[in-house]
C-alpha cells in the first residue's frame, strides 16, 4: 500500500503498577499525545478504544473512558481485542475516506488490579474446558512449549537462553515492566516452575499499560508531522479453538495473517525486506516460533538464531529489541505497544534499544489460547 494512512504519534506507558486509575492513565496518554502533536480532541475524527470488559469488571467499559480520552459527542467505537486490531480498524476507517484522523487508545491494568490470566481462563468453553478445570493460559502454553521443544530437538536450557536473551533486551528499555539488569540463563533457570517446562521467567509479567496512537490520512499526516510512519499492510487470521486438535509447534494463523499483510505491502521476501519485527510472544518460545511462522527466519534456525542473540538490535533483522511481551504484557494493549515500538524504531527514536536505521517493520498482536488469533501490521518510513 502506498502512502495512504500513517501513524503520526504514539504515547505509551507500561509498568508493574502505574499507580493511577484507568481513567487517569487513559487521560494522561491521550493528553500527552495531543500536546505532543499540538492538536486538541476536535482534530480527531474517529476514536477507537481497545479494552476488555471482563478485565475491567464492568460491561460497555468504554463509556467510562470516553470522557477521559475526549471521545464524548464524537465518533466513537470500541474493539474488544488486542489493541493492534484497533490500529487496523483505524486504518480501515481512514482508507474508507470518511475520516482523516483516528485516535487509538488501548489499555489493560493487570499489574495488581486483576489477574492477567482471567481473560483466557474465561474465554474457554464453559461447557467443557472450564468444567474440567485443567486448561488455562499457562498449562496450554506449557503444552505448546513442549511441542515446540520436541519438534526442534531443544531442551529446557534453550528455553532459559531464549528468555534470558529477550529479557536482556528489555533490560535496556525504560518502557517495560520487567527490567532485569544482568539477567542470564542461570537466573531464568532458578525461577520457579509454573507448568513444566515453563518457569516464571519464561512467562510474561503481570503488567499495567496504556498506549495511545494517532493515525491520519496522507494529506493530514504531513500536516501533523515531518516524519509520518506509513501503514503498508495488515492482515489477521484465527485458528481453531480446539487446541488439542492443532499442531501446537507451529502457528498457521500467524503465517496467514503475515501473508495477507505482506501481499498488501508488496513484500515478497520478508526475511530480507523486513528490518525489524516486534512480535507479541507471551512465553519465551513464542518469538522465534512466530518469526518462523511469518517467514522472517527458517523454522529450524529461528530458535538458535534468536536465543544466541543473532537477531539482536545490530542484526539486519532485529526481533523484539524492546524486550517484547516477555518484558511487559498489558493485556489488550500489547499489540498496540508493538506498533508503537516499531514507530519509534522507524523514526530513530528508540534510544537505548534503537536497532540501526530500519525502513520496514512488522508489528504483531495475538489473542486466545496458544497463538489462536494473530494480527500483523507492516509499517514503513
Amino acid at each position: 500500500m502506498d502512502d495512504k494512512v500513517a501513524i503520526v504519534g504514539v504515547n505509551y506507558a507500561q509498568g508493574d503498577d502505574l499507580g493511577l486509575t484507568r481513567e487517569r492513565l487513559c487521560f494522561n496518554a491521550v493528553r500527552g499525545l495531543l500536546d505532543q502533536l499540538g492538536i486538541d480532541r476536535h482534530a480527531i475524527d474517529s476514536f477507537i478504544l481497545a479494552s476488555n470488559d471482563f478485565l475491567e469488571g464492568r460491561t460497555i467499559s468504554n463509556v467510562f473512558e470516553d470522557g477521559p480520552v475526549g471521545a464524548y459527542l464524537k465518533d466513537e467505537t470500541k474493539v474488544e481485542m488486542d489493541g493492534i486490531n484497533a490500529v487496523v480498524y483505524g486504518a480501515l476507517r481512514i482508507l474508507e475516506g470518511n475520516y482523516d484522523t483516528a485516535l487509538i487508545i488501548a489499555h489493560g491494568l493487570c499489574g495488581h488490579q486483576v489477574s492477567p490470566y482471567l481473560q483466557v481462563q474465561y474465554s474457554l468453553d464453559p461447557t467443557y474446558d472450564r468444567q474440567l478445570g485443567l486448561l488455562n493460559e499457562l498449562s496450554g502454553a506449557a503444552l505448546q512449549a513442549k511441542a515446540y521443544l520436541r519438534r526442534h530437538g531443544l531442551d529446557e536450557g534453550w528455553l532459559d537462553r531464549a528468555a534470558a536473551w529477550e529479557l536482556s533486551c528489555g533490560a535496556s528499555n525504560d518502557k517495560v515492566t520487567r527490567k532485569l539488569e544482568g539477567v542470564d540463563e542461570a537466573k531464568v533457570s532458578s525461577s520457579a516452575y509454573l507448568y513444566e517446562p515453563l518457569r516464571e521467567l519464561h512467562c510474561y509479567p503481570p503488567t499495567d499499560g496504556v498506549c495511545a496512537i494517532v493515525m491520519a490520512s496522507a494529506g493530514r499526516a504531513r500536516e501533523l508531522t515531518d516524519r509520518p510512519v506509513w501503514i503498508r499492510g495488515f492482515g489477521s487470521s484465527i485458528d481453531s479453538y480446539y487446541f488439542a486438535g492443532r499442531d501446537l509447534a507451529v502457528s498457521p494463523s500467524a503465517g496467514e495473517a503475515a501473508r495477507r499483510a505482506y501481499a498488501m505491502a508488496g513484500v515478497d521476501d520478508p526475511a530480507s525486506r523486513i528490518d525489524l519485527a516486534e512480535v507479541s510472544g507471551l512465553f519465551a518460545y513464542q518469538a522465534p516460533l512466530l518469526a518462523a511462522a511469518m517467514g522472517l527466519a527458517g523454522e529450524e534456525e529461528a530458535p538458535h538464531r534468536f536465543a544466541s542473540g543473532e537477531m539482536g538490535k545490530d542484526a539486519p533483522l532485529s526481533l523484539n529489541p524492546s524486550g517484547g511481551a516477555l518484558s511487559a504484557h498489558p493485556v489488550c494493549a500489547t499489540g498496540a505497544v508493538r506498533v508503537a515500538e516499531a514507530f519509534r524504531q522507524l523514526r530513530g527514536e528508540a534510544g537505548a534499544v534503537q536497532a540501526g536505521e530500519p525502513k520496514l517493520a512488522l508489528a504483531h498482536g495475538q489473542d486466545g489460547l496458544c497463538l489462536q488469533q494473530n494480527t500483523v501490521v507492516i509499517l514503513g518510513i
Partner: protein, 151 residues
C-alpha cells in the same frame, strides 16, 4: 492545590454469579456415555477423523458429523505438563506437582486433555500407553472419567 494521591485498591469489587449454559445434544450424549464407561466420538464422513469430545461439525470439512462411534478407553500419551501451581478464577496457588496430558485414545483422531495419575512424573514419556480410570461417584458428570493411569 495539594496533589491528590491514588494509592488504594479499594473497594474490592466481587463478581459472583453463575450462568446456566445449554450443553447441546452432542456433549450431553458424550456425558451420558461416560456414565456407562463409554467414551463416545463422532466420525466425519469426509476426512474420516473421529472427534472426541464430539462436535456437530468437522472443522476441516465443514460437514455435519452424524456417525457416533465408541473409542477405546486406552490410548497413547502425546504430551504432558507437570503443574506446580493451580489456577482458580485467574489466581495462581502453589500445588503439589501433578500431571496433565494429551491422550490420544485408540480410534480417536485428536487427543483428550486429562489428568494423569499413578505414574511418576519422571517416568512420563510421550508414546506411553495409558488407560482410563473411572469414578462413578464423582460429583460432576465431567469427572466420571477421572484420570488416565498405567495400562
Amino acid at each position: 492545590m495539594e496533589e491528590l494521591k491514588e494509592t488504594y485498591f479499594t473497594p474490592v469489587v466481587p463478581l459472583d454469579f453463575g450462568y446456566n449454559y445449554r450443553l447441546g445434544a452432542y456433549l450431553e450424549r458424550y456425558l451420558d456415555g461416560l456414565k456407562e464407561r463409554k467414551i463416545l466420538g463422532v466420525k466425519c464422513g469426509g476426512c474420516g477423523d473421529v472427534l472426541v469430545p464430539p462436535r456437530m461439525y468437522c472443522g476441516k470439512c465443514r460437514r455435519k458429523l452424524e456417525e457416533w462411534v465408541e473409542v477405546g478407553d486406552r490410548g497413547e500419551l502425546v504430551d504432558f505438563t507437570v503443574g506446580h501451581v493451580s489456577m482458580s478464577k485467574g489466581k495462581l496457588s502453589p500445588a503439589d506437582p501433578y500431571a496433565i496430558g494429551l491422550v490420544k485414545l485408540d480410534g480417536a483422531s485428536c487427543p483428550l486433555l486429562a489428568r494423569i495419575k499413578g505414574v511418576e512424573a519422571a517416568s512420563l514419556r510421550p508414546g506411553m500407553r495409558l488407560r482410563a480410570s473411572w469414578n462413578e461417584a464423582a460429583e460432576s458428570d465431567y469427572l466420571v472419567l477421572d484420570h488416565f493411569g498405567p495400562e
